[in-house]
Every structure is written in C-alpha cells, then in structure tokens.
C-alpha cells in the first residue's frame, strides 16, 4: 500500500496498513531545504523539491502546493509585503470599504500573480511522485478570499452594513476558488484543500456560516469533485464544534479539526467523514518530542476502531518548528 492508496482508503473509511501521516508542513519545507520563505513562495520548482525533501525526511504521505493566503488577492492586484522568514501580508487591498466587487474580473491562473508558481510546483511534484503519494493543491475559501480582498475588518462589517455586497464578494470568491482549484487539478493535483480560516466560529457565528458560507463552500467542493479531484477536503482551523456537523452536507470527504475538539467529539459530529487533525500546531515549537509522540499515539488509538483518520496538526505546523517534534509524530506511527 503506497502513500496515496493509504490516504484514499482512509478517506473512504476503509482499513489501512497504518494511519496516514499528513502533517500540514508548508513553509517548514523551505526551512528544511535551506530556502528563505520569500524564495520558496516565488519559485514553483524550488517549492516542489523542498516539499519532496520534507516528505522524505519525515516519511509523510503527502506533499502540498500551499503558498499563502495572499495568492488570490495578489492575482487580482493586491499589494503584498514579503519577508525572508515570514509569509506575506496584504498591505494594499484590492477593494476599498465602499468598492463593489462587480468590478473585479476572474484572474487567469496560468499567468496571474504567483498562481503559476503553485501550478508549476504541482506539475513537478506529480511528475516526480506520480501516484505514489498525495499531491495536494490549496485554495482560499470564499470568506478568507473575501477578507483578503476587503481586509478582514471591512469584510466583517459588510456582513451587517451591506449584506448584498458581501454576498457578491463571496460569490466572486467562490468562482475564484473554483477556477484556481480546477487549474490545480489540471496541473496534477490529486486533490485541492479548501482552506477557510476566516469562516471559523472564532471569527463568524455558526449561523452566518450555515447561511452564507456553507452553500458556497459546497459549490467549491462539488466543482472540484466534478473536475476530477480524488476527494474533497475542507480545512477550517479553530473552535469548529458549532459547524463541523454540516461539513458532510457541504460535501467534504476529509475534514480538518483543530485542538479545540477532542477526537471523540469530532467523530460524533462527523461519523462517516474522514478526519484530519488535531495536534496543537504551536506544540511543534516548544513541546518536547515525547509530548508530541504521546499526543500522536493518543490520536491514533482514539481512531483505531473507527478508521477514517489522517494524523496531522489542526493548523499549519510553523515554519520554524523543531524538527525533533515532527519526527516524534512520525515515530508514533512507526510504533503502531
């Protein structure tokens, strides 16, 4: 059973030879490869090789062409500020507080901003790995992309001050995620993870999620499935207990859950959905390796009878994480 087969079986809640190891290692791959984040995020070939090296180092089952949450906004003309060792920030939003999203046009992923970096990385990773391991792409979900277009505070105030305009921004962001995601599938991604941290109940109420975001996320996931994705994956960090139960209706085959929820609670809310999580991401900075290993073993044991589990972190493992902590997570599986 190779890495991709292992993950695919887990997504269908079928038996696997061992729990798939799918930690959210993005910028950490740059650190492992001795690259600055700035270079990693601008060079698809370098990103691909760094991801493959990180996979080999930690013996994980997946590689990711995740860049940062500025990609979509940048492709539409937003100004980003880059640093050598940090992800970029949007410093000039595409839309002012009073702007109408109708003036935006969908970008062409083959040429807009750094979208080609992602596509190049996916092509290279797929060529190198074929179907031996999961090659995953990434898009920002509708709320996160809208927040990047307007700025998070302006986007949230629109929810109350001008709901039709926020709805228009969410609809545009939905089409944007679909177009960019389909381009990633064409470039070789087996699946495209939909990240929507701004949809978390830490930011918007569950009622808002169900009314405004769930239908649009459902459209994104359905389009990705229709475009050939091997499975769909929704990744929302934070305290998602109030929304997790509707992921199955949205059409998510895999659902990330963060450290706020226990394995038992997540399983109760999504009994027939593959779950990915939920090690605390900041534990990878400071926690001793034995702590990470104990937590990881606890998760594997918790899902032992159920299956349908990908061992991961609830959010990104920080780029500056201690390698020993990540290795400890992998070691927990080797002792299965």
């Amino acid at each position: 059973m190779n890495s991709l087969e292992r993950i695919l079986r887990a997504t269908r809640l079928e038996p696997v030879d061992r729990t798939p190891l799918v930690p959210q290692l993005f910028g950490h791959a740059a650190v492992c490869a001795g690259l600055s984040l700035r270079d990693y995020l601008h060079d698809g070939e370098a990103l691909a090789h760094a991801q493959i090296r990180a996979r080999e180092r930690y013996r994980t089952d997946a590689v990711f062409a995740f860049l940062d949450f500025g990609v979509e906004a940048e492709a539409l003309g937003a100004q980003l500020s880059f640093g050598d060792d940090r992800y970029p920030d949007v410093v000039g939003c595409v839309l002012g507080a009073d702007d109408d999203p109708a003036r935006l046009r969908l970008p062409e992923p083959a040429s807009a901003g750094r979208m080609p970096v992602c596509l190049r990385a996916l092509r290279t990773m797929r060529q190198r790995l074929g179907d031996s391991a999961l090659v995953a792409g990434a898009v920002a979900g509708p709320m996160t992309a809208s927040a990047q277009l307007y700025g998070i505070e302006n986007a949230l105030f629109l929810a109350i001050d001008d709901p039709p305009r926020l709805a228009a921004a969410l609809d545009f962001s939905t089409r944007l995620a679909i177009r960019y995601g389909l381009a990633q599938l064409d470039a070789g991604a087996h699946a495209v993870i939909v990240f929507d941290p701004a949809a978390s109940p830490a930011v918007v109420p569950p009622g808002f999620f169900r009314e405004f975001l769930a239908p649009r996320l459902g459209r994104v996931l359905a389009a990705l499935r229709g475009g050939g994705a091997a499975f769909t994956w929704l990744n929302i960090a934070g305290p998602t207990a109030g929304i997790l139960d509707c992921y199955a209706h949205i059409g998510a085959d895999v659902a990330t859950f963060d450290y706020y929820l226990s394995a038992a609670e997540a399983s109760r809310l999504l009994p027939r959905t593959c779950l990915a999580g939920n090690l605390k991401s900041l534990d990878f900075l400071d926690a001793a390796p034995d702590v990470v290993k104990r937590e990881a073993r606890g998760l594997v044991a918790a899902f032992g009878g159920r299956g349908g589990f990908l061992l991961s972190s609830g959010c990104e493992i920080p780029p500056e994480a201690a390698a020993g902590n990540i290795a400890a997570m992998a070691a927990a599986l080797n002792e299965d």
Binding site: I160, P205, A241, Y259, L282
Partner: protein, 224 residues
C-alpha cells in the same frame, strides 16, 4: 462637555436605549443616543458606567469560551468606539480612565484584528488604552509603558514568529525598572502556549478573559 460631578438622568431606563444600540452594534444610533444623553445633562462618567460598561458586561456574559465570535464583538466594539469619540473627542486623558494599558501587535506580525478587539473591549469597560499598532518593536512598547505609567502591557499574536518577540518583553521591562508591570498575551498563536513558556503573567483565552484578569489586577484582587 459635562464635568465629573454633573448630574442628570441616571435611571436604568434612561440608559437602556444606549445599551440596546450598543448590543445590536448600531454605531450611528449609539453615538446619537450618547450625544442626546450628554445634552440631557448626563455626565460622561455616567455614560461610560451605566451605558458602555453595562453593555460590555452583558456582552461579556454572553461570550463564553464556547460562544465567542469576532463579528458580534467587532460590531459592539465599533459602536463603543463611536460613543467614546462623542464623549472624549481627543480620547481618554491619562487621568480619566480606570487605568492605562499599552497594547501592540509585536514586530513580525501585522494581524491586528485581535488587538483591536481587546482595545475596544477595554475602552468599553472604561480603561484608557494606548495602542502602539502592529509590527511594533519591543522597545517601543516598553517605552510607551514607561511614558504612560501603564498598569499592564498587552500583546496579541496570530502567528508563531511573534513568540520570540513576546519572550523579549519581560527582560526589556525589567531593564527599564518596570518588573512590576504585568504582561498579558492573547491571540490564536500565543494562547496555545503557557504563560511560563512565553515569560508573561497571563495568557488570555479571549478579550473578555484578558479583561477579567486586568480588572482583578487593577483592583488589587488576586489574579489567579
């Protein structure tokens, strides 16, 4: 503008429209009602105590760890800010708030939404908050704490690189003779770590949790 000893309507009913406007997040109505109350003879202190603090108390009760979202708090916070601008167009003077805190998002982190929420919550509770903004060097924050006579230093962090900056705060405060000034941290990244791992006095689960700690601190009550 009314002075601290002016009198006016002080019944709960008189302030209910302001509390209602604040809780539904209608910033324009809240500012208009506050202006009306002042014109009716209410003191600024009354508006803060019976209006802002009362509304923030109700919101506080509603926002548990399990039920806390930024959208609702931002809306109330925006309304609070609008009322504070009516009452104190130039902001709270150093002698006017219950205590002064300095707050920032430290160098390397430009995400300031969480910080802004904390600032609005504390303003609604009658505290003076000096906001050093985002991407703020540790030395600037410590300098502001010294200059403003801050009762506490507050930092918010969404991303992990800011952890190393937070750890520099305590030694920098100590070097300036401010070892007695507590440091409170919060935000999605920082709240995953324990106070001793960050070398701070308290890690807040959310804005209200942090405010509770600070209220205990300034009142001299035990903080643990």
């Amino acid at each position: 503008m009314n002075g601290p000893h002016s009198s006016g309507p002080s019944t709960e009913a008189a302030f209910q429209p302001l509390v209602d406007a604040l809780l539904v997040g209608d910033h324009k109505l809240a500012a208009a009602v506050a202006q009306h109350l002042i014109e009716q003879g209410c003191s600024r202190e009354q508006v803060v105590t019976d209006g802002l603090e009362h509304a923030m108390g109700l919101l506080d009760d509603k926002c548990t760890v399990e039920s806390f979202n930024l959208l609702e708090i931002m809306l109330v916070g925006r309304a609070v800010s609008a009322v504070v601008r009516v009452l104190y167009p130039d902001g709270y003077a150093p002698t006017e708030g219950r205590a002064t805190f300095v707050i920032a998002t430290l160098e390397g982190d430009v995400h300031d939404l969480g910080k802004n929420i904390v600032r609005m919550v504390l303003a609604g509770k009658g505290f003076r908050v000096v906001d050093l903004g985002r991407d703020c060097p540790v030395d600037d924050l410590v300098g502001a704490a010294q200059r403003e006579g801050a009762a506490a230093v507050l930092v918010s962090g969404l991303i992990s690189p800011v952890v190393s900056q937070v750890r520099k705060l305590r030694p920098a405060l100590r070097a300036c003779g401010l070892a007695h000034v507590p440091v409170v941290a919060g935000g999605a990244a920082l709240k995953q770590l324990r106070p001793e791992a960050l070398d701070v006095d308290y890690v807040a689960e959310n804005a209200f949790d942090g405010a509770h700690y600070l209220e205990r601190h300034v009142s001299g009550a035990p903080t643990t």
